[in-house]
């Protein structure tokens, strides 16, 4: 009777939901039903036996009334004995079942897997542990909490206690709290396997990859940057250290009005704010108030560098040698004029980025008279300077470094005038995003430039291979150190591979470039110059060619680069640090020599560094590749050695 009351009823009653009720009724574990039923059956059988003997005893009772008391006692004893016998039988059966179950577990896959994981533990113990896990109360049942002994309903989220039993919700919360510290430590140790790979790759792409520990200085600076709000003064740190701190702070966008003070000393000559987005106009004014000996000013994201700041700068007795202003798009053209009028005489370097419509032809036109000492001029991302403005640059005779990235449509003639006018003295010529400039500019460079060391012409869609070849052939200029011709290629969306007029930097131009500048070249970018042939690459990076200074090479989206070409590049460039091959779909499987970084291989890994290839010496040995055709060629090459 009591058994039936114990069992959860199948009918839906009261607030219990239909689902819970159903699950609960389903989840009366078979074990329990069977055990209950068996116990009942045994009890009944025992009772029957007892009843039989009782009957005989009763008949005997009638015969021998004297032994009544004794018999009664006996009966009581039997009644006590019978349930215990049934129980022991049930228990024996239970034990047998358990043994069977454990046996089964020992044969199961999960058991074998676990056993492999912890070899040393006893297999019987392990099997018993699994069995106990399996026979733990299922959700919906009632159970006594292991710690506080309160009765509670088991849910799928019930936690196991320290001795394997289940815990009620309150005890499990407390238990979790105690357990937390231990768990955290464990997580820290085991967690970062995947994360560290991503971090590592991100560091490779940032060019920060290094083996071994960080330098103590880096560690200190990072700690300092984390706790910059605690610092009140940087003390007498050397300027380059202060600069590094400034960089790292800006990288984390931590440069606020408060910590700007750390970088402002009355005797500072250079103020560099790499990220001024949190600074207000008053902060900029404060720079000029504090640093009275300021010479070089570099501000990036200086949105609040407004007219009032410029007016203040004009009013102060400061003599700036260089201004580098990035993103000051609230500054009007009038202030620029006023400043250059007042202080332009000493200015040697003027770099203006992202000033939208407020730095126009008028300002450029006056540079010649107002800034006679100007050596470096950079105007980037400017929407107002047009071809007329560019023509004015041709008159800036002292200029050594010129860099332009203008958004207005460009014509060839003004640029030719610039090169004719000041090409003689230029060390740097950078013309970004110039789709309409043609070969005549290249010819002018060939004719006039004699001291260039950095040349950048990007996105040209009209310059031809012949033009590039003419530029480098017998050029009286010394070898270039830095060359960037990215995206100088033929653009046709319907027939991208056909290039009948040899537009862009193609094979001949590339050969001429490497012949002229290869010996001293440090940085080469021919990103997306897709018509350079495989033969040209193989010829220029053959085993006889060595480019001793080349550090960085970007050949992404050059379609004809193969595994063999990449291997040859590693052989020909002993100092090479990084090679970019994004979109070179013929690069499949290259072995990268130790210490070199190959970025952008079209596979799941994306980038490779290998430290294991010590034996494949990159210089004189063979290029590291596995493709068969290439191997044939290598064999040919090594035979010549």
């Amino acid at each position: 009777m009591s058994n039936r009351q114990d069992r959860p009823a199948r009918q839906i009653r009261g607030p219990q939901s239909a689902l819970t009720d159903f699950l609960a009724s389903q989840n009366i574990s078979a074990n329990r039903i069977r055990a209950d039923a068996e116990a009942r059956r045994n009890a009944a059988a025992a009772a029957n036996n007892q009843g039989g003997s009782n009957g005989t005893a009763n008949t005997a009772n009638g015969a021998t009334a004297t032994g009544d008391v004794d018999d009664d006692n006996e009966e009581e004893a039997a009644e006590v004995q019978v349930p215990s016998a049934a129980r022991s039988r049930a228990e024996a059966q239970k034990r047998k079942r358990q043994a069977e179950a454990i046996d089964k577990i020992q044969k199961s896959k999960a058991f074998k897997r676990r056993k492999r994981n912890n070899e040393d533990s006893d297999s019987d113990d392990l099997a018993r542990a699994i069995f106990q896990e399996k026979s733990a109360p299922l959700p919906g049942q009632m159970e006594n909490c292991e710690i506080c002994d309160k009765r509670f309903t088991v849910t799928p989220y019930s936690r196991a206690g320290p001795n394997g039993g289940l815990l009620c919700s309150k005890c499990s919360k407390d238990f979790a709290k105690d357990d937390e510290g231990v768990n955290k430590l464990k997580k820290k140790k085991s967690g970062p396997a995947g994360a560290s790979r991503r971090k590592l790759q991100s560091r490779i792409l940032d060019g920060m990859y290094a083996v071994g520990a960080k330098s103590l200085m880096t560690l200190c600076i990072e700690t300092l940057a984390k706790n910059i709000e605690l610092a009140s003064d940087l003390g007498d740190l050397p300027p380059f250290l202060v600069d590094r701190i400034a960089r790292i702070l800006s990288k984390r966008r931590l440069l606020t009005s408060q910590c700007l003070d750390l970088f402002l000393q009355p005797n500072t000559e250079d103020v560099t704010v790499y990220d001024g987005s949190y600074l207000t106009a008053n902060d900029y004014i404060r720079i000029f108030q504090t640093a009275s000996r300021l010479k070089n000013l570099k501000l990036r994201n200086a949105v609040q560098f407004k007219d009032e700041v410029m007016m203040y700068l004009i009013s102060r007795n400061l003599v700036l040698h260089s201004i580098h202003l990035h993103g000051a798009n609230l500054l009007s053209e009038d202030s620029w004029n006023a400043y250059l009028e007042a202080k332009g005489k000493t200015l040697q370097s003027l770099q203006v980025y992202y000033t939208d419509k407020h730095f126009g032809n008028g300002v450029v036109a006056t540079l010649k008279d107002r800034c006679p000492k100007l050596k470096r001029l950079k105007i980037a991302h400017n929407q107002k300077v047009t071809n007329d403005g560019v023509e004015h640059i041709a008159k800036l005779e002292g200029l050594e470094h010129l860099s332009l990235k203008l958004l207005q449509p460009k014509a060839t003639e003004p640029y030719i005038k610039v090169v004719q006018g000041i090409g003689q003295g230029l060390c740097t010529l950078s013309l970004k995003d110039v789709p309409d400039l043609d070969d005549r500019v290249l010819d002018a460079i060939h004719e006039h430039c004699r001291s260039l060391s950095k040349l950048r012409i990007t996105d040209s869609e009209v310059m031809t291979d012949a033009g590039f070849a003419r530029l480098f052939k017998d050029w009286a200029n010394k070898p270039l150190l830095f060359v960037d011709f990215q995206k100088c290629r033929h653009v046709d969306s319907t027939k991208p591979r056909e290039n009948p007029h040899m537009v862009g930097l193609c094979s001949d131009g590339f050969r001429a470039l490497m012949k002229h500048s290869g010996k001293r070249l440090r940085y080469l970018n021919i990103h997306a110059c897709r018509h350079i042939s495989r033969e040209a690459f193989e010829e220029m990076f053959s085993d006889t060619e060595v480019y001793p200074d080349l550090l960085e090479l970007e050949i992404s989206f050059c379609e004809n680069v193969t595994d063999f070409v990449v291997g040859s590049i590693f052989r020909s460039c002993p100092k090479l640090k990084e090679l970019n091959v994004f979109g070179c779909m013929k690069v499949k499987e290259v072995r990268v020599p130790k210490g070199k970084i190959l970025v952008g291989v079209p596979n799941a890994v994306g980038m490779i560094i290998e430290g294991s290839d010590n034996d494949s010496v990159p210089q004189a040995g063979m290029p590291c590749t596995r493709s068969d055709t290439a191997n044939d060629k290598i064999n040919g090459a090594t035979k010549q050695d």
Binding site: S215, L216, M217, L219, C220, E222, L224, D236
Partner: protein, 108 residues
């Protein structure tokens, strides 16, 4: 301490301004170009002969951290993705000065 310059001792001693002495592996301190040149057997500085370098500018607490860094660096010199060493915030600036003084700048 090996004084004859032929057999260099495997360990050297660093002495802080307040008299604490730290015995450090010679290979581990080679990360610092400053100490390296002090101990260069060719130069025959006093430090190179005796194997003892004293730093009057660096106190014991900071030097202890520096020594800890030497060993941390030595232990991790061949490994990739090294966990960062803990720098106590209050020592940060002093340690930075010491690192600058000892030339612990390069990533080698």
């Amino acid at each position: 301490m090996a004084a004859n310059g032929l057999t260099l001792s495997k360990y050297i001693t660093l002495i802080s301004s307040d008299g604490f002495e730290f015995v450090v592996m010679r290979d581990a301190v080679m990360i610092s170009p400053m100490i390296k040149s002090m101990l260069d057997p060719q130069s025959a500085f006093k430090e190179a002969v005796s194997g003892r370098c004293s730093f009057d500018e660096i106190n014991g607490i900071v030097l202890e951290k520096v020594v800890e860094y030497f060993h941390y660096w030595y232990k991790n010199r061949e490994r990739e993705d090294v966990p960062d060493m803990d720098i106590p915030v209050e020592l940060c600036l002093e340690l930075l000065m010491a690192a600058d003084y000892l030339g612990l700048d390069k990533q080698t």
